[in-house]
Symmetry: C2
Subunit: 219 residues, 2 copies
Amino acid sequence: MATSLAEENYLKIIYRLSENTDQGVSTNAVAELAQTKAASVTDMLQKLAEKGWVIYQKYQGVRLTPSGQKIALSIIRKHRLWEVFLVEKLGYNWDEVHEIAEQLEHIESESLIQKLDEFLGFPDRDPHGDPIPTRDGKMADQIYQPLSEIKEKMDCVLMGVAKDAAVFLQLLTKLDLNLGAKITILEINSFDRSLQIQVNSAAPIFVSHEVAKNILVKA
Amino acid sequence: MATSLAEENYLKIIYRLSENTDQGVSTNAVAELAQTKAASVTDMLQKLAEKGWVIYQKYQGVRLTPSGQKIALSIIRKHRLWEVFLVEKLGYNWDEVHEIAEQLEHIESESLIQKLDEFLGFPDRDPHGDPIPTRDGKMADQIYQPLSEIKEKMDCVLMGVAKDAAVFLQLLTKLDLNLGAKITILEINSFDRSLQIQVNSAAPIFVSHEVAKNILVKA
DNA sequence: ATAAATTTTTAGGTAAGACTAAAAAAATAT
DNA sequence: ATATTTTTTTAGTCTTACCTAAAAATTTAT
Ligand SMILES: [Mn+2]
Ligand SMILES: [Mn+2]
Ligand SMILES: [Mn+2]
Ligand SMILES: [Mn+2]
């Protein structure tokens, strides 16, 4: 069955909110991400349920059915492949591509995404370190951990980010914290949990706990 | 002012119908290309006129204003650049790209189309030989002429097509009539104006007047 | 010049996807 | 256990872009 742009965006949002929990997703949570009102969300959830893409019962929150999940993953696949294209082929920075990919992810053509994947050399992570779902809808787990959970004195490598916001990514770029950067944790301040770290053996810098939470690393 | 997808498509259609005439474009002509009803077209023309993109007076047909023309040309520019991308970079055939470009042409990002243009090496023709409007909205004239207007015994080179339809392009491909093909007109049959031609010095073939009209060549 | 045919516009409706205000249910506090 | 607060749903509108049927204007034929 064909999906409208609005439906695709809702399914993607429900998918994202389901990732960290096995509870149903609340109407308000969806409304916030969709930048719309709860009443509009209720309308849409009823429609998505009729189409068989979500399980929805009044006041019980919503969850994706397998077919709804499949649609969400195909949109995420397209989003991430286009992000790779924008960075690798067109020379964008990682903080500039999300909004454009939000549009490109809705282009409908099986063959297009197939050929794009091939053109890009079948990447398995996007420019933010997020796994790209496969053609048959399997997504690798996020195997990296937040920098905030690494112990003092440890070395690690920046593999991704948990947040796409341009302001955040721009801050990282300014601090030379790019994908692949080598990070050494010199000290964790117990007062505010901020960290003193060394990036690629340069002079030490400070980052807040909030920043460290959104940086994904491998030891 | 922002343009909706429907508005962009209408402006593009009006542009296309205006190319061959300096008369206003009729409601019915627009309706046919838009695959919609005349009543819907009237509605939209009134809206486009309010936004200042067309001059419209009841029963008098419609024509683009300079700002309407500018929008139309920017959509056409995007359409053709994406077609080049699809053929040159992703390996599509020229008969497969139109529908996908119809979607891609509505992606909104100045920088994207700028970078795409650069990535493609600033092409000035699309895979069908059509000129790509420049960034500031100038489009080169179609300098090629229909094969149907070439005299007997003359040599020419296939530079483009006047029709994008997949069935037509597939026929050309089957006949080895690709961009750059060398064509010699052996004979024009006065009965039905069909032509006997030689393509790249291969065995002679026949093409109808209808086909010849839609093949653009340079002598 | 008038009649007939065609084209175009108007009038009135529909579906999608949003909104506000009010009602109902659920969660939290006393 | 009841009252209060918060969340969610319902009811009623709005806008965009489409539709059909009918009316009006224009064009073509006689
Ligand atoms: Mn993104
Ligand atoms: Mn990403
Ligand atoms: Mn095309
Ligand atoms: Mn083309």
